[in-house]
Symmetry: C2
């Protein structure tokens, strides 16, 4: 893998693009080697290889690798280090496992505008006129492909530890991050099974399901790969936690008000699934009697039409829930900016992290 | 963890018991620490902790840790080394992930005589009168708990590498083992979706889904933890591969003829699922017209009665399929014995491995 020297230059959009390209190359290279492992077992594994390549190499904002990379730079790591980019890229594999398994759990048909992995293998089952349940085969394949991504995340991380790494601390945090995100997903599944919506519980889910594993842990992992101490890790979490929360709050807003061509998911899916988000918890708290009736009738209705989505959007706006969530995002972003200016970072790193923070919470996906 | 000095003594049943006890203690200790991680997120994760403790600490033959341990001893590793027992015990976590996810894939209700993990969480959903689909919640929880076992396998292995370990080679093989078993499970799912049964394809499934990850890789991993060279690894695979194959062939026989109180699974489940095993492939190959008609009618019938199971058993016996599989097991066990006597092992290790080989392929589970 060649490393672009452009990374040494000042922070700008071109540089983020370069980083995304390098993360993509690292993943491509790693997947080529895994494809050799799989295809040496049998050519019949070609659809597995193709599905994972498509999933990992087409699209994705590479947010977690970016936070890991800038966490490394913030701790004095060298620009464009090949190893750290490989280690950072490995986080996309954990993310892929999460998304592939989440799509089974949520029975989501699409992901990034393409069929979800379990749908892709159900289609393969149909196409090849296989025996038994196509959905069952799709689910089986997607469970196993998610598992592969999980173990490959570990493999890719291990194979790319830079010599500066505090290996024991980094791997401890790496595994804690896995446990946290899986616990967060369980809490989320449990939350969706409760009759009531609670703001504080929804915030706990956000912290573990998203904030830790999207921002806090990737940044801290990057720092540990550069041999950082606990003090820097603590200063990272002061801006990383509110940023991770703001990221998920933005995602919740986009799940209701976003443009499906940008999010890659059908608009209103969160409403159809009746996701217990902070946005909906606020709307319900503040709804008048008739509004609450409409919420009860429409939220969680799988066959919800575009008109139904519009009614719910109006209620979310009229109750002030949208304005409040935007205010919560703004408040967190103020904390982020304050903590970023106080953090012991070079101007280049501070600017890059500020840019990332803004990009990951902006109003369009 | 204290290490029993009895391990230094000669190979006998008491010693296998000691090893199993030590593996259990290592798992218990590791799970206690993971429980702290989970419960610090929230007490609502208690059912997750309880389910994983029950799954990992009650029962299980600890075969994979035993092969890993004796692979270590065969390469000159010290008896009763605490680290290697921890690393060996970690293999139970990969196995747990495989079983938990496999039970979702096969829609199996029980495991080791207890409700499968997805059923356990569906029951929790019922008991607590939660909202939505109990089965959906059970599946979600079981996917996530399996994922936890997968990442914890890696964590426990990492945390217990003995100083003698060839870390790079051991982790490479460790990850290859993960890829192999997942590929094997995919091949198995695909195999069950085909109209035809093929002996050679069934043997490929056996190799990757079982033989590699139950015997070959655990033994070789143990050797690499003691710093062994490639020559010893090759000598291991000469007896490990036929032994792993014999183990799965025995499992296939027990799946049809075994005692459900010993296997922990309802008798005849393989027949109800219509599993494409070597045993069934042979029966089908050799069946007369009427026998084939019965096989077509009964194999894969979810509501198959005890009488139906008896009819199929008779056909499997009458076609000579059972006798042939027993002969294949015997032939492999001859290879195992020959390769074991040629392998550069001390008498103690040779005897322990011989005992393990016999125990893992004996006629009652």
């Amino acid at each position: 893998m060649t490393v672009s020297t452009a990374l040494v230059g000042p922070t700008d959009t071109a540089q983020s693009e370069d980083l995304r390209t390098m993360v993509g190359s690292a993943l491509r290279h790693f997947l080529d080697t895994r494809a050799e492992d799989l295809l040496s077992i049998g050519p019949v594994l070609e659809p597995v290889v193709a599905a994972l390549r498509d999933f990992l190499l087409n699209g994705g904002k590479r947010l977690r690798p970016a936070f890991c990379y800038w966490g490394w730079r913030g701790a004095g790591g060298m620009p464009g280090d090949t190893a750290v980019i490989g280690a950072a890229a490995s986080l996309e594999l954990l993310h892929a496992c999460g998304l592939i398994h989440d799509d089974i759990i949520d029975a989501s048909d699409t992901r990034r505008g393409q069929p979800a992995v379990h749908r892709r293998f159900a289609q393969l089952h149909h196409r090849d006129h296989l025996r038994g349940s196509a959905d069952g085969f799709g689910t089986a394949a997607a469970i196993l492909l998610g598992d592969m991504c999980m173990t490959w995340c570990d493999q890719m991380f291990d194979e790319n530890l830079p010599p500066t790494a505090n290996v024991r601390a980094a791997k401890k945090l790496f595994h804690l991050m896995h446990t946290e995100v899986l616990a967060g997903q369980y809490l989320d599944a449990l939350e969706q099974s409760l009759d009531t919506v609670s703001l504080s519980r929804a915030m706990t889910v956000i912290r573990y399901k998203t904030a830790c594993y999207t921002v806090v842990r990737p940044l801290q992992l990057g720092a540990l790969l550069a041999g950082a101490d606990d003090e820097l890790l603590a200063s990272y979490s002061r801006f990383a936690m509110p940023l991770g929360e703001a990221f998920q709050l933005r995602d919740d807003v986009l799940g209701v008000f976003g443009d499906s061509s940008a999010t890659g998911k059908p608009t209103g899916d969160d409403l159809r699934e009746g996701k217990h988000t902070v946005l909906l918890a606020l709307a319900r708290d503040r709804a008048t009697g008739p509004q609450r009736g409409e919420l009860d009738r429409l939220v969680g209705e799988p066959a919800l039409t575009e008109d139904g989505v519009d009614i719910l959007r109006s209620i979310i706006i009229d109750t002030g829930a949208l304005r409040d969530v935007e205010a919560q995002i703004d408040a967190r972003m103020s904390l982020v900016r304050g903590a970023l200016s106080d953090a012991p970072l070079t101007e280049e790193v501070r600017e890059a992290l500020t840019e990332l923070a803004i990009a990951s919470t902006k109003r369009s996906a």
